[in-house]
């Protein structure tokens, strides 16, 4: 179990980084921005950034990327729009706060093998498992039973039941690939064991209606990375996310469009490793985009996220399959 003090410290750093990014968004703080990848259908150009932020009592070099993707558009004719957009706000809130973290891992279609062997389903995206919590009621610490670890609690419970929750996040489909020399059509790939611990806190939960011009709803969360102790962090933790914050929100516009916004802020690697920064950020943004496509596919599976009878059973139970 991650030491509670480490969790509290990660949350404090996350809180500072969240405030810093709010200032960056509002133009009160500056970062060096650059285009990581060109735009694509439904997505603006992915922008990376470098900046100095004061977090956890120290000013550090940070880097990251900000992405904005098309997620959905309210159905119906233009005449249906005002009502359907308002209704979509409730849908986005329910999905973002109750189901999103469960739906970040999805089972991919996989070949059917006739030979008998136990099936271990390949999963794409991010697999989130709840680990520990601190009660908001009495301050007691506890651990979630493994049997319900995948059924991530409704994030609105962070306002009533839990002070914080830790998640173990892994990325089963993150692979490193390389072309075979002399061949353009043969490549080798191997899984990249990758996982990290993230903390959820009510201060990171986004739950806003009419937050700004053209916006009629914004819902989501922030995940603050809890750096592991020791050498393991250098070898196994993906994205060099030693400490930092990942923000992800669904924004509903009065046009009926829903867009996904993600911001990743991570400690900038030492200057000697600058050569690897761009490929690292590109790989991170690409993986995020692929993950988003999978999650959007799950969002499409139900036409009413407030009606449990239309929601995939595995998602209700948090079983992945």
């Amino acid at each position: 179990m991650t030491p509670p003090n480490d969790v509290e410290r990660a949350i404090a750093i996350g809180r500072d980084l969240n405030a810093w990014w709010t200032d960056v968004d509002a133009g009160r703080a500056s970062v060096e921005r650059f285009v990581l990848m060109p735009g694509f259908p439904g997505g603006d150009a992915v922008r990376g950034f470098f900046g100095d932020a004061r977090a956890g009592g120290a000013t550090e070099r940070y880097m990251g990327c900000a992405c904005d993707y098309f997620f959905d558009l309210a159905g119906g004719t233009a005449a249906d729009l005002p009502q359907s957009a308002t209704w979509l706000v409730d849908q986005a809130e329910e999905f973002a706060l109750r189901y999103w973290l469960r739906s970040e891992a999805w089972a991919l279609p996989e070949p059917y093998e006739e030979i008998s062997r136990p099936v271990e389903r390949e999963v794409g995206g991010f697999k989130n498992l709840m680990q520990a919590f601190k009660s908001r009621v009495d301050g007691l610490l506890g651990q979630f039973p493994a049997a319900i670890a995948r059924a991530i609690v409704d994030l609105r419970e962070l306002e009533t039941t839990y002070d914080w929750i830790t998640l173990r996040r892994s990325s089963p489909d993150l692979r490193v690939a390389m072309a075979v020399p002399g061949s353009s059509n043969v490549s080798l790939s191997a899984p990249l064991p990758a996982s990290c611990t993230l903390a959820l806190h009510a201060d990171f939960t986004v739950r806003r209606r009419l937050p700004g011009p053209g916006l009629i709803g914004e819902f989501g969360t922030g995940l603050s990375a809890v750096p592991p102790a020791g050498l393991r962090s250098l070898v196994r933790d993906f994205d060099f996310l030693q400490s930092g914050l990942r923000l992800q929100t669904l924004r509903v516009y009065d046009t009926g469009e829903v867009r996904l916004r993600t911001v990743t802020i991570m400690r900038r690697s030492p200057a000697a490793l600058d050569y690897f920064v761009m490929p690292l950020l590109c790989a991170h943004a690409t993986h995020l985009r692929d993950q988003m496509l999978g999650t959007r596919g799950i969002w499409q599976q139900s036409n009413n996220w407030l009606d449990a009878s239309t929601i995939p059973h595995w998602l209700l139970k948090g079983t992945h399959a």
């Binding site: 694509f40 009502q83 271990e120 036409n303 009606d307």
Partner: protein, 409 residues
């Protein structure tokens, strides 16, 4: 050979005066079109008659899916055609495409939804089924990229080639029939990759063979689907299909690759259910490949890699000789047969080493590629509120080429 006077008759057909110049390669492709149309129509007739009966009786699972009611199945059987018996394999799949979100109390306007899907499928789908992913300098395509290459005019019977500037401006598919007797499309199936995994190690290391190849296909009016209320519970259905036209000039060690197949048809269709859900469907039927690998080409391919391309040059005459005299033996089939013979069938039973499993692997590969392409196209379909209003469409739908903001197409 370049046809300098496009109006002249060449290779037994009349060239449309508006055609782009035809070269020798074009002639090779066009020479295959009529025979593949005939074969495609024969296969389609067989499919229409048997898809709900014999095919279903012979179906085998191809892929595990969790999203209900998404389905898929394959089949391995003999198709008894008028021209003879053809051993075929194929795959059928059906998946969610879009479920527009509306308050449950709203009555869905099915006519409006039908108009949306019809416009998207018949006018824009082929322009928007593929794109460049946001992967910077490593960009390859995603989905399927379509280009219209050749046509036959219904009024005159003249054949032509679309000028390169028009090749991405796919014509409305319901013009196939009234205006065009047929159109040949070039389909680039991006990310057509076959992974070879370490047995019994899920998510383990693997070797991936990319089989991305351009494929020529010919669509005739018989493959156009444009139906209102085709069956109970379905308010409309639209789609297209085609016969594959082999590229005889394409040489590859993998003889069953997409560019090489003949006697193959594929149909892609979309339907609106009365619940408002939009679903996508695909049928693919192809002959069981007579062989998988050309041993001579494979040997020289490997030798060229180690000799920086000099092997084929130095031993060119030997290669030509071997290609002429090689027995029609496939090393893959041969290995499978030998393993099963010496193990009394255990190789197939215990390790899944059999021709049938190889066919299923190919069908799974095709299924996965279509599955991803449909998901990508579904996100593009969802981005526009009204596909019937051309003034509100993204430039990409108009030009057929996606250009990131700030870059011209």
């Amino acid at each position: 050979m370049v046809t300098t006077n496009p109006a002249q008759a060449t290779s037994g057909f009349t060239v449309d005066p508006g055609s782009a110049p035809l070269d020798a390669y074009d002639q090779v492709i066009l020479g295959q079109v009529e025979s593949q149309i005939a074969m495609g129509h024969e296969l389609k007739a067989w499919w229409t008659e048997n898809s709900d009966t014999l095919v279903r009786m012979n179906r085998v699972p191809i892929a595990r899916q969790i999203h209900e009611p998404d389905t898929n199945y394959g089949f391995i059987m003999d198709a008894h055609l008028k021209s003879g018996t053809l051993p075929v394999v194929g795959v059928v799949q059906d998946q969610a495409f879009r479920w527009p979100k509306l308050p449950p109390s709203y009555a869905r306007d099915t006519q409006w939804m039908n108009a949306q899907l019809r416009a998207f499928v018949l006018r824009y789908f082929m322009r928007m089924a593929g794109t460049l992913p946001p992967r910077g300098e490593t960009a390859g395509g995603e989905g399927w990229g379509y280009r219209q290459m050749y046509y036959k005019l219904a009024a005159t019977g003249a054949i032509g080639k679309f000028p390169s500037a028009q090749q991405t401006l796919i014509v409305p598919l319901d013009e196939v029939g009234p205006k065009y007797s047929w159109i040949v499309f070039l389909v680039t199936i991006h990310q057509f990759d076959m992974p070879f995994n370490v047995p019994w190690v899920p998510n383990g290391p693997n070797v991936t063979l990319s089989m991305t190849q351009p494929v020529h296909t010919v669509m005739t009016p018989e493959f156009l689907l444009d139906e209102d209320n085709p069956e109970p519970g379905v308010t409309g259905r639209w789609g297209y299909g085609y016969s594959v036209v082999p590229d005889l000039a394409h040489r590859s060690a993998v003889t069953s690759g997409p560019s090489a197949v003949t006697n193959t048809i594929e149909t892609l269709s979309f339907r609106v259910l009365d619940t408002g859900e939009v679903r996508a469907h695909m049928d693919f039927i192809t002959p069981q490949p007579p062989r998988i690998v050309d041993p001579v080409l494979l040997a020289f391919d490997v030798a060229d890699r180690f000799s920086f391309g000099t092997a084929s040059k130095v031993f060119g005459p030997l290669k030509t000789l071997l290609e002429r005299i090689e027995p029609n033996v496939d090393p893959v089939y041969f290995s499978i047969d030998v393993l099963n013979t010496i193990s009394a069938g255990l190789a197939a039973q215990e390790f899944g080493i059999s021709r049938a499993n190889l066919f299923k692997k190919f069908m799974n590969l095709h299924f996965t590629d279509v599955y991803k392409m449909y998901n990508l196209a579904a996100s593009h379909f969802g981005m526009v509120r009204d596909w019937t209003d051309s003034s509100t469409l993204p430039a990409w739908a108009t030009t057929g080429v996606y250009a990131p903001p700030g870059e011209s197409s």
